[in-house]
């Protein structure tokens, strides 16, 4: 075999000086980042027009790792920040990569309102069912009865169904994949990058260290096997029924519609007002 004399094909999309990343062995975040840069590569995106924004949490480091304009905001606020960026320069492709806790617990309000406004930002959510960076506490997507450091006797909260939430809030593109469906994920991300409106992809991501370990899935491969066994690919099925259980994980695309974005409508109005104005 050939020894690795040369650099990784996709290294140019990463901040080499920050590699290797901080993520644990078997963590799905790396796969998501990998899939994301694959998509950039396949689309030959203009990197000068790309802004990656992330919040707080393990996946929050993703912004720093992608070698484009990037910003690492406070906990829960990436979408609000991204809204400012997108409106300030609609030509920019603004991608928010963050976690389930950041986007749907502390940041939930910003998510639903950005979706409602149909701001043309793209959100990729790594859903690992817990707060990994702080050591595995219960989160808005933690499955019932799951053991976390703050639900030592099993979770009694009802988790969010993120794709249903996104669809209900008005997202124009909604998909869910697991890190095992990395090919589909890449295709979805490519689609995401080529769309106008508020778009959302949930990526079910293995977190063996702080979640799996406490829930009978010690290693990354064990969690991936769960994804493999349980996943069923549905085509534009009802997101309300897109369950995530031990037996069944519904993945696929759920919504793909076009509607005018906030920035489009805003600039239309402005043009009209300026015409009348002078």
């Amino acid at each position: 075999m050939t020894e690795a004399v040369e650099q990784h094909l996709l290294l140019k999309y990463l901040r080499a000086s920050m590699m290797p990343h901080i993520w644990c062995s078997g963590c799905g975040n790396g796969i998501i980042l990998n899939s994301f840069v694959h998509a950039l590569d396949e689309l030959q995106m203009d990197l000068n027009k790309l802004v990656v924004v992330s919040g707080i949490g393990c996946i929050g480091r993703a912004a720093g790792y992608t070698n484009v304009d990037s910003y690492h905001t406070t906990h829960g606020r990436p979408i609000a920040f991204a809204t400012g960026v997108k409106l300030a320069n609609p030509k920019l492709e603004v991608i928010v990569i963050s976690g389930d806790g950041d986007l749907f617990a502390i940041g939930g309000n910003h998510f639903i309102h950005a979706a409602r406004r149909n701001i043309g930002i793209k959100v990729i959510c790594a859903n690992n069912f817990n707060y990994g960076m702080t050591g595995g506490q219960v989160g808005p997507t933690t499955p019932p009865e799951a053991i976390t450091t703050t639900t030592p006797y099993g979770n009694i909260e009802h988790p969010f169904n993120l794709v249903h939430l996104a669809a209900a809030a008005g997202a124009t593109y909604v998909a869910r994949w697991t890190t095992l469906h990395v090919r589909m994920l890449t295709m979805s991300i490519k689609k995401l990058l080529q769309r106008k409106g508020f778009s959302f992809i949930e990526v079910i991501s293995p977190c063996p260290e702080t979640f799996g370990r406490r829930n009978k899935m010690r290693t990354g491969p064990e969690m991936m096997e769960w994804f493999k066994k349980a996943s069923v690919i549905e085509k534009f099925s009802d997101p309300a029924k897109a369950e995530i259980t031990t037996e069944r994980i519904v993945v696929g695309e759920f919504v793909d519609v076009e509607k005018p974005t906030y920035e489009e409508l805003l600039h239309e109005k402005m043009a009209q007002i300026m015409k009348e104005g002078g």
Binding site: R15, S17, M18, L47, N48, K49, V51, V53, R61, A63, G64, N67, V68, D69, S70, Y71, H72, T73, T74, G76, R77, A80, F81, A82, T83, G84, V85, L87, A88, N89, K91, L92, N109, H110, H113, L266, K269, M270, I273, M274, G277
Partner: protein, 384 residues
């Protein structure tokens, strides 16, 4: 549209909030994100009406946290950005004011102060947020805060605030109060060319050489913006010149945090503005800011008529605190009076600067601001 055209040159009769909005526009602000709150709402309303006409962006966010986050984003994308709020909203913004300070984001926050704490008295004036403005967010940092005391100053100081925040890459706060904000007065907006507008320093290095947080001699790093091809990273984490997180190094932490403070402290003389009235021979010095300074001035005048050597030191800049000016005034003064619409906030800074000179605090909460009579009375008494 060129910003000159956006400037409403001429004499106008308008409220402080509207003047503030016009000031922002005149300063080149083209992005406003806000959330309705008395007594700052009219700023948003006026901007909402004006921005579309001049190609600027107005967006009403879901809350104040979102508003400040959005203007930080807009600023990083190259627009001059502002938000306006009052006490409750100002509290919500604190964490991201810290982020703005940490990521050295030029942006302006208007805090129209009302009676607190909590929901307090939304429709009555207050000066209770002045310490929060300085210390509200966690960790060590410096910001700049200005206190307008007239509608004209609502206009002028908003421009000033933008110039300072652009110059020093620091969040700058206009500490207005309900009276100044809702008061209608005549103001004069000068011709555009006579308005001094400062824009942030741009890097002159090629992208591959650019270090986003490497300061020049003035301790302020040149600022590239998203979409300009610099491919830089900014983070709220402690970071080195590259903007790369350094969460373990005390060296980087010390270097960064000191600089963030020093770039303001060391430039304090350039930043600070005060107004001195009849101080040359003043025995009694009134130190005031905002609307209270106006009552103080007429009180000082009345005192002079009555033969009392009183003088006024009006703080235009609240932060960094005009320490030297207070000290100087304190040298020959027998007493210093600090009337404030709070239980005693800036008075502490004055005491610190006044050394031995006795400092009396004239506190007033709720209802109307101090009347000249109240202050005059206090001046008289303070003679004994």
């Amino acid at each position: 549209m060129a910003w000159e055209k956006a400037v409403l040159t001429g004499a106008h009769f308008m409220s402080g909030d509207i003047a503030c909005a016009e000031g922002a526009i005149a300063a080149g602000c083209r992005f406003f994100a806000g959330y309705p709150i008395t007594p700052a709402t009219e700023i948003a309303e006026h901007i909402a009406a004006r921005m579309p006409k001049i190609g600027g962006i107005y967006i009403q966010m879901e809350d104040e946290i979102a508003s400040i986050a959005a203007i930080i984003g807009a600023s990083y994308t190259g627009l001059k950005a502002m938000t306006a709020t009052s006490g409750p909203g100002f509290s919500l913004m604190q964490e991201n004011i810290g982020l703005a300070a940490m990521t050295e984001t030029p942006c302006v926050i208007v805090d129209v102060m009302r009676g607190g704490p909590s929901t307090g008295q939304p429709t009555l004036p207050g000066q209770q947020d002045v310490m929060q403005a300085k210390w509200g967010s966690h960790g060590d940092y410096e910001i700049i805060a200005l206190a307008p005391s007239s509608v004209q100053e609502m206009f002028n100081l908003t421009i000033e605030a933008f110039n300072l925040s652009e110059t020093y890459r620091v969040p700058t706060i206009v500490m207005a109060d309900e009276v100044v904000a809702h008061m209608w007065e005549k103001i004069v907006i000068p011709p555009a060319e006579e308005i001094n507008v400062v824009n942030r320093k741009k890097p002159n290095t090629p992208p591959q050489k650019y270090l986003p947080f490497m300061p020049d001699d003035d301790l302020v790093p040149p600022m590239a913006c998203f979409g300009e091809g610099y491919h830089f990273h900014a983070t709220g984490l402690t970071h080195d010149e590259h903007g790369h997180p350094q969460t373990q190094s005390s060296e980087v932490q010390t270097k960064l945090v000191r600089r963030l403070c020093d770039k303001i402290r060391k430039n304090a003389d350039k930043i600070i503005r005060v107004e001195e009235k009849m101080l040359e021979d003043a025995d009694i010095v009134v130190v005031a800011y905002g609307i209270v300074a106006r009552a103080s001035l007429s009180a000082v005048r009345k005192a002079r008529e009555k033969g009392i050597k009183a003088g006024l030191l009006r703080l235009v800049t609240l932060w960094p605190f005009p320490e030297k000016h207070v000290a100087k005034a304190a040298e020959r003064a027998k007493a210093i009076i600090v009337p404030e619409m709070n239980c005693g906030q800036m008075v502490r800074e004055v005491e610190r600067a006044a050394k031995e000179t006795p400092v009396f605090h004239l506190s007033k909460l709720g209802e109307e601001p101090h009347t000249p009579m109240e202050i005059l009375e206090f001046i008289r008494r303070s003679q004994q």
